[in-house]
């Protein structure tokens, strides 16, 4: 019992210290170290490919040595941050609100980030990092899923609708699309179906593809069951999808700009964001409530906006910089890079978030764990 009390006491002490912490108003001298939790490929120091390096310059100018812990899923990121010992995290839309609600991250003072004003205005107050007017992070990078298609199979025409992956039809090359299209095998793909129905079946009243009532949800599942008939294999891994488009005769699928960029030299491939819109992701750098290296963390948030990070990471990942001015003048990204990766499509993008039962746009919604069970059933042909 004693031990239990001590442990609980420790938790409470940690909790109380962060609850009342207001953001700092002045920067001190750098601590010499920065611990980051990040997605794989997000923090590159030229070790994977020499040209892609946005850490060395930061270390040189600030004296903060960067240590990175990569995480594979949002759940993993939340767990690592709860464990503690890290200063910042590159959180996606589904993790960021959880971290704020759990008081794991602290409010930041945007005045201490000189380049804050250069951030895309549409992202400065985005709902996934701003709560009650308080900022809990600095936008890092965003990107969208795209419809990747084989230009030969489509006879040089650009498909303008996701229907090529949802409904059986004859393509421009005279063959059916059956067994030649793919879809993502994660349950979040249900949102893509909901987004499609939002456009084509307004009577369902879908307002947000991540917030579905039971009726809207069932309609989406029906669409996915129909899709199962024409999808030979779902994709799960970026490199396996690239192999499928090269060796397996697949011609259309929802995909990431990453695959499109890598495939384009060898396969007649192009991509488009169709009229229904697309799903996407937006990541935010957030600071741990008990960050030991707070000054280095602030310096990093400035660095991420002002350095070559934005343009080079966008090129590396097939994503879009949160600082639009970084789109020009980068060799790695190229003059058309931002356009290819989708900067003009911001308004058509439904950013990824975890479906929860208590939702804003409907009375009550189908939660994520149901999505998982039902999507497995759909893949199994049920």
């Amino acid at each position: 019992m004693k031990i239990f009390n001590i442990i609980m006491g420790a938790f409470l002490a940690v909790g109380s210290s962060s609850i009342y912490a207001a953001p700092i108003t002045e920067l001190g001298s750098p601590e010499g170290e920065l611990n980051i939790v990040a997605w794989a490929g997000y923090i590159e120091r030229g070790e994977t490919m020499e040209a892609f390096d946005w850490v060395t310059s930061y270390e040189k100018s600030t004296g903060c040595n960067v240590k990175v812990k990569t995480a594979g899923t949002s759940d993993e990121m939340v767990a690592l941050m709860n464990q503690g010992g890290f200063d910042i995290v590159t959180a996606s839309g589904d993790a960021s609100l959880r971290l704020i609600a759990g008081k794991t991250v602290q409010e930041i003072n945007t005045d201490l980030i000189p380049s804050w004003g250069t951030i895309d205005e549409r992202l400065q107050d985005a709902v996934w990092h701003t709560v009650d007017g308080k900022h809990y992070g600095t936008p890092y990078m965003w990107g969208s899923n795209v419809l990747m298609y084989n230009t030969e199979a489509f006879g040089g025409e650009v498909p303008d609708s996701w229907n090529v992956v949802f409904e059986e039809q004859t393509l421009a090359d005279g063959q059916s699309n059956k067994n030649r299209v793919q879809a993502f095998d994660g349950p979040i793909h249900i949102a893509d179906a909901a987004m499609y129905l939002m456009y084509h079946n307004p009577s369902l009243g879908i307002k947000d593809p991540y917030e579905l009532t039971n009726e809207q949800y069932q309609a989406s599942l029906d669409l996915l069951r129909q899709q199962r008939e024409i999808v030979g294999r779902y994709w799960h891994d970026a490199f396996m999808q690239m192999d499928d488009f090269t060796n397996e005769g697949f011609v259309a699928s929802g995909s990431w700009p990453f695959q499109v960029n890598l495939l384009r030299p060898n396969v007649p491939i192009s991509s488009v964001i169709p009229k229904e819109g697309a799903t996407g992701w937006a990541d935010t750098t957030m600071v741990h409530a008990d960050a030991e290296n707070l000054n280095c963390a602030y310096l990093w948030m400035e660095h991420q906006l002002s350095s070559n990070l934005q343009s080079d990471l966008a090129a590396w990942f097939g994503a879009v910089p949160v600082v639009p001015s970084k789109c020009v003048g980068s060799e790695l990204l190229g003059p058309e890079g931002c356009k290819i990766n989708g900067i003009d499509n911001f308004d058509k993008i439904y950013f990824w978030k975890t479906p929860v039962a208590s939702c804003k746009t409907q009375e009550s919604c189908v939660p994520y764990y149901k999505w998982v069970t039902d999507y497995i059933a759909v893949l199994g042909g049920r």
Binding site: T73, D75, N179, N247, E248, Y368, Y369, T373, A377
Partner: protein, 305 residues
């Protein structure tokens, strides 16, 4: 202090069991607490359930999750799909593995035997993922098998095989046939080696005696060799069967994206946080294996151990 050490060493010398236990306690704790303990806690979760509204785990004893597992047709599909494929892979491995093991045990010189051993073990030295990925390329629509059939003008044959309902598909790598081939390839060594070991132990004198008593080759095989080698076949089948039951990587790479038990466990506990259902799913292979091993024991598979 010296006194204490003296009496301690005397005590330890007189009580052999004490020494024995103190050496064994660490591995026993490892097996008991770290391994079995965590496994039992995990499996115990199958008696909890997920609250339908909040998605939180409800820590109350109930059979809701197990009922959910066995009442949903999608879940039953997953169970049947996995068990049937595991059985087919086991039978396939036995049919391919037995002649190889028989040849190794009875007809080779020691040098050739060592060569064959290495040939069988060699694939196990390279990464499992690399081997599965290369099979994906071999089986692909533009892979070598298709190319081979094309060169022989036998595409019609491959097409007609692939148009078989249920097991067929648009290409070899997107069908149950492909999954069967890859699983059989991956687990075959685990079938050959136990069979080979059990065939080694069949005395040649028994085979000679069988011939002397007038049995022809076929009779000798079915009445003498096979029964004596059966424990090896069953030991091998336990490997191939249980390994196929639990695998979740091959179904992600080869096949039609329909889920298998391993994937269901992975997805439910990993991204969905539905640990009760994941635990219930993982109970099934354990139950199937218990029944299987019980039957094998009844058949005398472990008598020779």
């Amino acid at each position: 202090m010296n006194n204490f050490l003296d009496s301690f060493s005397n005590f330890a010398f007189r009580n052999k069991n004490f020494i024995f236990l103190s050496f064994l306690i660490i591995p026993l704790l490892w097996l008991g607490v770290v391994y079995l303990g965590s496994l039992l806690i995990f499996l115990g979760h199958s008696f909890f359930h997920l609250d339908g509204f909040t998605g939180q785990i409800v820590y109350e004893f109930s059979f809701k999750t197990l009922l959910e597992l066995f009442s949903s047709p999608a879940n039953i599909d997953i169970l049947i799909r996995t068990v049937v494929l595991a059985a087919c892979v086991t039978i396939g491995s036995a049919i391919i593995g037995f002649p190889i093991a028989y040849y190794m045990a009875k007809f080779t010189s020691p040098k050739v035997k060592i060569f064959l051993f290495i040939a069988i073990m060699l694939p196990l030295w390279s990464s499992y993922l690399v081997r599965v990925y290369s099979w994906k390329l071999i089986l692909a629509k533009e892979g070598i098998i298709n190319w081979f059939f094309e060169k022989l003008n036998l595409e019609w044959l491959l097409d007609s095989i692939l148009s078989t309902p249920v097991i067929g598909g648009p290409s070899l790598s997107i069908s149950y046939i492909g999954m069967f081939l890859v699983f059989t390839y991956i687990w075959l060594p685990f079938m050959i080696l136990p069979i080979q070991a059990s065939l080694e132990r069949v005395p040649n004198s028994l085979i000679n005696a069988s011939h002397d008593l007038g049995a022809n080759k076929r009779q000798t095989f079915y009445k003498v060799i096979l029964p004596l080698a059966l424990p090896g076949v069953i030991a091998g089948s336990i490997f191939t069967f249980s390994l196929t039951l639990g695998d979740y990587i091959i179904p992600y790479i080869i096949g039609t994206s329909k889920f298998f038990i391993g994937q269901a466990v992975y997805t439910h506990q990993g991204t969905a946080g539905n640990i009760p259902l994941a635990a219930a799913f993982s109970l099934v292979p354990i139950l199937v294996m218990v029944i299987y091993i019980y039957c094998a024991k009844r058949m005398g598979a472990f008598d020779a151990l």
